[in-house]
C-alpha cells in the first residue's frame, strides 16, 4: 500500500464515504502532499463513487488546491490593496530574488513556490502572507531575510519563530458586542427558559438585521426556516470572510468564539436543527485548532451534543468545514454548494436557503457577527440592543479599519456614526477617499464624509479602507478589478467576460492610451454587469469603477488622450516582445503617442 493510498484510506475510514466531504478530503490531501496527486484522485473517485472529472474540476476551482506539487514551502502573499500600500510587492520581489524563484512557479528544485493570493484578512497588521496555509503578519525585510534562511535550511514551519505567526486582535473601540464576554451557556439557557417564540419575538423587537451586509431581518429568516417543512434543518455560520479589507470575524472567532457557538446553538433550538456548520475560510486555518478544542469543551460541558443543558431532545453539534480560497463561497448558496463538496457556483434563486439549503433542506445561513449579536440579545434583551443605532439600523457594527490611518484595527460603533467621526477616531489625515464595504462596496469622496454607516445610508459588511491624498486611486480600482477577475466563478457571461474587458480597458487608461470613449465603454459594461449578472459578486464587481468614474473623474481624465477614439491595438506594447528579445529599451525602440 502506498503512502498516498494509506493517507486517503485514513481520511475515508473516519467517515461514511459521504461525497459532501470531498472538498474537506481534498484540503487534507493538499495540506499533506502540497498538491492533489493523481493516485489520490483515482482513489477518491473509486471510493466515493464520484466521476474523476468532477474531482479534477473541484481541484481547479479552489485557489488553494493544486494538481501539481507546490513544494515544501508554499508561500502566498496577500494581495489586497492595503497590503500593497504597506509595501508587499517589493517584499515579494525581494523574497523571490533571494530564493531564486519566479512568482507563480515552483522553484527548479521543486521545494518552494511564491505566489499572490486574495486578501487574507490581516490588513491591519500587513503586509501578510500564508506559508503552507499558516498566516504570517507584519512582513518586513528582516522577516523576509529570516524566512529565506529557514527555507534554505529546510526547517519545517512548525519550528519557525512563534512571533512570525502572532496575529493580534487589535480591538480599538468596544461597544455592545465586544464590551464583556457573556457567561458560557447563558444565551442557550435564556433560550431554553423562554422558548422559541419568546426568543424570536425578542430578536425581532431588537431590530437585528444580518451583519454580512445585505441586512435581512434575522428573526424573519429564522422564522421562515423554522416553519419550512424538511426532514432536517441546518444552521450554517458563514465565516468565509473574504471581502477585501474585512477581518472582524477573525477577532470574533479568536476571542469570542464561545458567543458565536452560543448563537448557533440557540438558532438550532429555534429552527429545530441537530447539525450546524462553521464554514471557515481557508485563510483562517490557523484558528481551527483552538475552535475545535473549544467545541470539545462545549461538548464536555453539555452545551453541545445530546440533551443540551440536560433538556431532553435538544441535540445539536457543530462541524467545521474549511474553504479553500474562493471568495464566491461567501455568497450563501455558493457556500452551501461548497459545504456539499462541490464547486462554489451560486444557485438559482428562488428557492432560497431558508427552504432549500444544505442538502435541499431548510437552512439558516448567518454571518459570524449576527450569531454573536443574537446570543447577546438573548442575554441582555431587545431594549439593550435597540438603544444603540438608528431607527432602521439597530445596534452596533464592527468595522475593520485599514489603510492610511494611525491606528488600524477593529472599531465597534453604534449604527449612524459618520464617516468623518470614524476617520477622526482612527487618526486618518488628508484623506482622499474611503472604500466602505470592501471591493464590492462604495468609494466615498471627502464631500460625502458626513454620511453614516447604516443600512439606509452606507451599508457595510465591515470593511473600511482609507486612502490618503498621496495614493493613486486607480491602483485601488485596478487591484479590485483583478480581484474580481480572479474570484469570478465563471458561471455567467457578464461577470466572466465583463471583468476581463474592464481589466483591458483599465490597462489602456493606465498606460495613457485611453480616450473618453473608453470610459463610456467601461460604464456600459459596468451597468450591464450590475443588471444581468447571476449573483452578488457579478453585480457588485464594477462598483469601484463606476463609483470612481462618477466621483473621481480626475484620476481617469488626467491620463486620457485628447482624441475621440484610439484603437485597442497598442502598437508600442506589441513591440514589447521585440524589445525584450533585442534587449533594447531606448527611445527609438518605442512608438510614442502625443498627448
Amino acid at each position: 500500500m502506498s503512502d498516498i493510498s494509506r493517507f486517503v484510506s485514513g481520511l475515508l475510514s473516519d467517515t461514511d464515504n459521504a461525497p459532501d466531504l470531498l472538498l474537506q478530503h481534498l484540503c487534507s490531501i493538499q495540506h499533506q502532499y502540497s498538491h492533489i496527486p493523481e493516485e489520490a484522485i483515482q482513489l477518491l473517485s473509486e471510493q466515493l463513487n464520484i466521476p474523476r472529472v468532477e474531482i479534477v474540476s473541484i481541484a481547479y476551482f479552489y485557489a488553494f488546491l493544486h494538481t501539481s506539487d507546490r513544494g515544501d514551502f508554499d508561500i502566498r502573499f496577500s494581495d489586497n490593496i492595503t497590503d500593497r500600500m504597506l509595501g508587499s510587492l517589493p517584499l515579494l520581489e525581494s523574497l523571490c530574488k533571494k530564493l531564486g524563484v519566479e512568482p507563480g512557479k515552483p522553484r527548479e528544485d521543486g521545494r518552494v513556490s511564491v505566489d499572490l493570493t486574495s486578501c487574507t484578512g490581516i490588513c491591519d497588521q500587513g503586509p501578510a502572507l500564508l506559508v503552507n496555509g499558516m498566516a504570517i503578519s507584519r512582513l518586513d525585510e528582516d522577516r523576509i531575510h529570516k524566512m529565506v534562511g529557514l527555507i534554505e535550511a529546510g526547517i519545517p514551519i512548525t519550528k519557525w519563530p512563534k512571533k512570525f505567526f502572532v496575529i493580534e486582535d487589535n480591538i480599538q473601540r468596544r461597544d455592545k458586542l465586544l464590551d464583556d464576554v457573556i457567561t458560557r451557556g447563558s444565551a442557550i439557557e435564556a433560550f431554553a427558559v423562554r422558548g422559541s417564540d419568546a426568543l424570536l419575538e425578542s430578536i425581532d423587537k431588537s431590530g437585528l438585521r444580518g451583519r454580512g451586509g445585505a441586512g435581512f431581518k434575522t428573526a424573519t429568516k429564522w422564522r421562515f426556516c423554522r416553519d419550512a417543512p424538511g426532514q432536517e434543518h441546518y444552521v450554517i455560520c458563514n465565516a468565509d470572510e473574504g471581502e477585501p479589507g474585512t477581518f472582524k470575524d477573525r477577532i470574533l472567532l479568536n476571542s469570542y468564539a464561545n458567543v458565536v457557538f452560543e448563537g448557533m446553538t440557540m438558532c438550532a433550538g429555534v429552527i429545530g436543527a441537530t447539525k450546524g456548520f462553521l464554514y471557515l475560510r481557508g485563510e483562517y486555518l490557523y484558528l481551527r485548532p483552538s475552535l475545535e478544542s473549544l467545541l470539545q469543551d462545549r461538548r464536555d460541558a453539555g452545551l453541545l451534543g445530546k440533551d443540551i443543558l440536560g433538556r431532553k431532545g435538544f441535540n445539536f453539534d457543530i462541524e467545521i468545514h474549511m474553504g479553500a480560497g474562493a471568495y464566491i463561497c461567501g455568497e450563501e448558496s455558493a457556500l452551501i454548494e461548497s459545504l456539499e463538496g462541490k464547486r462554489g457556483i451560486p444557485r438559482n434563486r428562488p428557492p432560497f436557503p431558508v427552504t432549500h439549503g444544505y442538502k435541499n433542506q431548510p437552512s439558516v445561513v448567518n454571518n459570524v457577527e449576527t450569531f454573536v449579536a443574537a446570543a447577546r440579545i438573548a442575554v441582555f434583551g431587545a431594549d439593550w440592543f435597540q438603544s444603540a443605532g438608528t431607527e432602521k439600523s439597530c445596534g452596533t457594527k464592527l468595522l475593520s479599519i485599514s489603510g492610511d490611518c494611525a491606528w488600524p484595527g477593529i472599531y465597534e460603533y453604534p449604527y449612524g456614526v459618520s464617516i468623518r467621526q470614524i476617520l477622526e477616531d482612527c487618526g486618518a489625515e488628508d484623506t482622499q477617499a474611503v472604500q466602505v464595504s470592501g471591493a464590492a462596496g462604495f468609494t466615498i469622496p471627502p464631500q460625502e464624509f458626513y454620511r453614516t454607516i447604516a443600512f439606509e445610508d452606507v451599508p457595510t459588511g465591515g470593511s473600511f479602507m482609507i486612502f490618503n491624498q498621496q495614493r493613486d486611486l486607480l491602483d485601488m480600482v485596478q487591484n479590485f478589478n483583478r480581484f474580481f477577475c480572479h474570484e469570478s466563478c465563471g458561471f455567467c457571461t457578464p461577470c466572466r467576460i465583463g471583468g476581463t474587458l474592464m481589466e483591458n480597458l483599465l490597462n489602456k487608461v493606465m498606460v495613457g492610451h485611453a480616450t473618453a470613449y473608453d470610459l463610456e465603454e467601461m460604464k456600459k459594461i459596468g451597468h450591464l454587469m450590475q443588471k444581468t449578472a447571476h449573483c452578488g459578486l457579478g453585480t457588485t464587481a464594477p462598483n469601484a469603477i463606476l463609483d470612481t468614474l462618477e466621483k473621481f473623474p480626475g484620476i481617469y481624465s488626467k491620463r486620457l488622450l485628447n482624441r475621440s477614439y484610439e484603437p485597442a491595438f497598442d502598437l508600442d506594447a506589441a513591440l514589447g516582445v521585440s524589445r525584450h528579445i533585442t534587449g533594447r529599451d531606448d527611445e527609438a525602440a518605442h512608438i510614442r503617442y502625443e498627448r
Binding site: P51, V53, V56, Y60, C489, T493, T500, H534
Partner: protein, 250 residues
C-alpha cells in the same frame, strides 16, 4: 375556479401553470425568447443570461424565473435587446468564432441568435484565446474555440446519458470543459456518437466527424427561417439525422 393565470409578454397575455418559468410558458404559447444555455428539454441553468427580460423594472433571467400572475415582461424593447446584443458580443470575443470557416454555420444557435438580435459586429476587442481541438474520438471532434461554456453537454451527459463525460473546470475566465479520463482526451471517455450530450451544443464546439457539409450552406436550418420561428436546432434532431444541418425533418 378554473380561471387561468396569466402574465403579459410585450403586452400579450401568456397563460401559465404553477411552477412554470416565464421561458416555459412563453415557448408553449409560441413566443420566442432568445436563449443559449437553456434547452427546453432539460432543467434550466441560467448562465448565458441571453434570455434576460425586464420584469416590472427589474432584469431577470426568464429561463429560471417562475412565472407570476400579472407580471409585465418586456422581451423586445431596444433596451433589452441591446443588453442581449452586448452579452452576445462578449461571448463572441471571448472565444474564436470564425463563422465562415465553421461547419455549424447556418445551423448554429449562437449565430442565429446573434442575427436575431441584430448583432452586426463583435464590438469589443477579441481575446484571441489559445484553445485546443480534441479530435481523438473516432466519431466526434471538439473545437473549444467555439465553446461558450453553457454547460449543456456537461448537464446532459451527467443527468440524461448518465455518463458524466464532461465537467466545467477552473473558474472565471479560465473556466473550460474537461473530459472524464486520466489522459484528458475524449477518446478515453465513454462518450458515444449516439449520446444526447453530443447533439445539444448550441455552437459548433461539438461536431460529428464524417458528415461535413452534407447540407450546403444556404440550405441549412437558420438559412431558411429565423430562429424565432424554427426554435432550437436540437429539437429538430432525429435518429436518422443526429446533427441537423438542413431544415426541419419532413
Amino acid at each position: 375556479m378554473s380561471t387561468e393565470k396569466t402574465f403579459r409578454l410585450d403586452g400579450k397575455e401568456i397563460p401559465f401553470e404553477d411552477g412554470e418559468t416565464v421561458m416555459d410558458a412563453a415557448l408553449r404559447a409560441g413566443e420566442y425568447i432568445p436563449h443559449l444555455c437553456h434547452n427546453p428539454d432539460y432543467e434550466p441553468h441560467g448562465s448565458c443570461r441571453i434570455c434576460v427580460v425586464d420584469v416590472n423594472g427589474k432584469h431577470q433571467c426568464s429561463c429560471t424565473l417562475p412565472a407570476g400572475e400579472g407580471m409585465e415582461v418586456d422581451n423586445s424593447s431596444e433596451a433589452i435587446v441591446d443588453k442581449r446584443r452586448t452579452l452576445l458580443q462578449m461571448l463572441f470575443v471571448e472565444g474564436n468564432h470564425i463563422c465562415p470557416a465553421c461547419e455549424k454555420s447556418g445551423a448554429c444557435q449562437l449565430q442565429a441568435v446573434a442575427y436575431q438580435t441584430g448583432m452586426l459586429n463583435p464590438h469589443f476587442t477579441h481575446f484571441f484565446p489559445k484553445r485546443s481541438i480534441d479530435a481523438s474520438h473516432p466519431d466526434i471532434v471538439f473545437y473549444f474555440n467555439r465553446c461558450i461554456l453553457c454547460g449543456l453537454c456537461v448537464r446532459v451527459s451527467r443527468d440524461i446519458d448518465k455518463k458524466a463525460v464532461f465537467s466545467l473546470s477552473g473558474r472565471g475566465h479560465r473556466t473550460r470543459i474537461i473530459f472524464n479520463s486520466p489522459s484528458g482526451k475524449a477518446v478515453d471517455t465513454q462518450l458515444a456518437i449516439t449520446d444526447k450530450a453530443v447533439s445539444v451544443c448550441p455552437t459548433g464546439a461539438i461536431l460529428p466527424k464524417h458528415l461535413g457539409y452534407e447540407t450546403p450552406i444556404g440550405e441549412r436550418l437558420y438559412d431558411c427561417l429565423p430562429i424565432s420561428v424554427v426554435g432550437d436546432a436540437a429539437k429538430h434532431h432525429s435518429a436518422r439525422k443526429p446533427f441537423i444541418n438542413g431544415g426541419p425533418d419532413e
